[in-house]
């Protein structure tokens, strides 16, 4: 399954809406977009309304982005998390690290 990304910028807040799956094949697409926008971003919002499959390749991208933002006082928010992705976050302990709503 492919990954569709819809992006929106509001000043220093950058929102990406994901549709599809974040996996080994599609992960690089998300990574490129985040890396390109991160320098101008203080708040990164990732909307998982249309995406409930995030493999470890995706987790690595999120952890990296979180680390970069945290280092300069920024934040990352994950919203509309589905059950499968929530289970993955719980198992890896990332549910208590990331801002999840």
């Amino acid at each position: 399954m492919d990954l569709e990304l819809t992006a929106k910028r509001d000043g220093k807040e950058f929102t990406i809406s994901l549709k599809g799956e974040v996996n080994t094949l599609t992960g690089p697409k998300l990574k490129e977009l985040i890396e390109a926008e991160l320098p101008d971003t203080d708040i990164l919002v990732l909307d998982f309304e249309g995406c409930d499959f995030v493999s470890s390749a995706g987790l690595r991208i999120l952890v990296n982005a979180f680390k970069v933002l945290k280092k300069r006082g920024g934040q990352m928010k994950l919203i509309n998390i589905g059950n499968n992705f929530r289970e993955v976050l719980n198992i890896t302990g990332l549910d208590t690290v990331f801002g999840i709503t």
């Binding site: 080994t24 470890s56 690595r60 680390k67 499968n84 289970e87 890896t92």
Partner: protein, 139 residues
């Protein structure tokens, strides 16, 4: 066991996913178990594609079946690339502060947590990785 033979290319991941999903459906696996195997296929087949044959590609077989009582779904990955035992990978300390946590190692950790068993052997020049999971398991 049903088996698929495929090249170790990340572009092959969807084909492997489709094969595994169809077989797990035929075995009557719950939706959650299918989602967990999907995670395993992405990580393990993905690793084979990226690392087993260095810069090149090579043959991989993926088998799906059922064994035991209560019934467990079984997936076996075989490649003839460099010997590598993923079970010897360092287990990440998920209690550590995020700053101190290594970014890698999460994938294998996740799969080990999700599966009932995971075993590795190097046999006849092949890396053989076997995963099992109770088909009706709910986490």
């Amino acid at each position: 066991m049903k088996e698929i033979h495929i090249d170790s290319k990340v572009e092959s991941i969807p084909e492997v996913m489709n094969f595994v999903r169809a077989e797990l459906e035929a075995l009557g696996c719950s939706g959650q178990v299918k989602a967990q195997f999907k995670m395993a296929v992405d990580e393990l087949f993905g690793n084979i594609c990226l690392y087993a044959y260095g810069e090149g590609t090579g043959p991989v077989s993926v088998s799906v079946g059922m064994e035991g009582d209560p019934p467990s779904a079984v997936i076996v990955f075989c490649d003839s690339g460099s010997p590598y035992n993923p079970l010897e990978a360092d287990i990440p300390d998920i209690e550590l502060d995020i700053e101190d946590r290594p970014v890698g190692g999460l994938g294998i950790f996740l799969i080990r947590e999700m599966m009932d068993s995971m075993s590795y052997e190097y046999k006849d020049g092949c890396n053989v990785l076997k995963l099992t999971k109770d088909i009706n398991h709910q986490l």
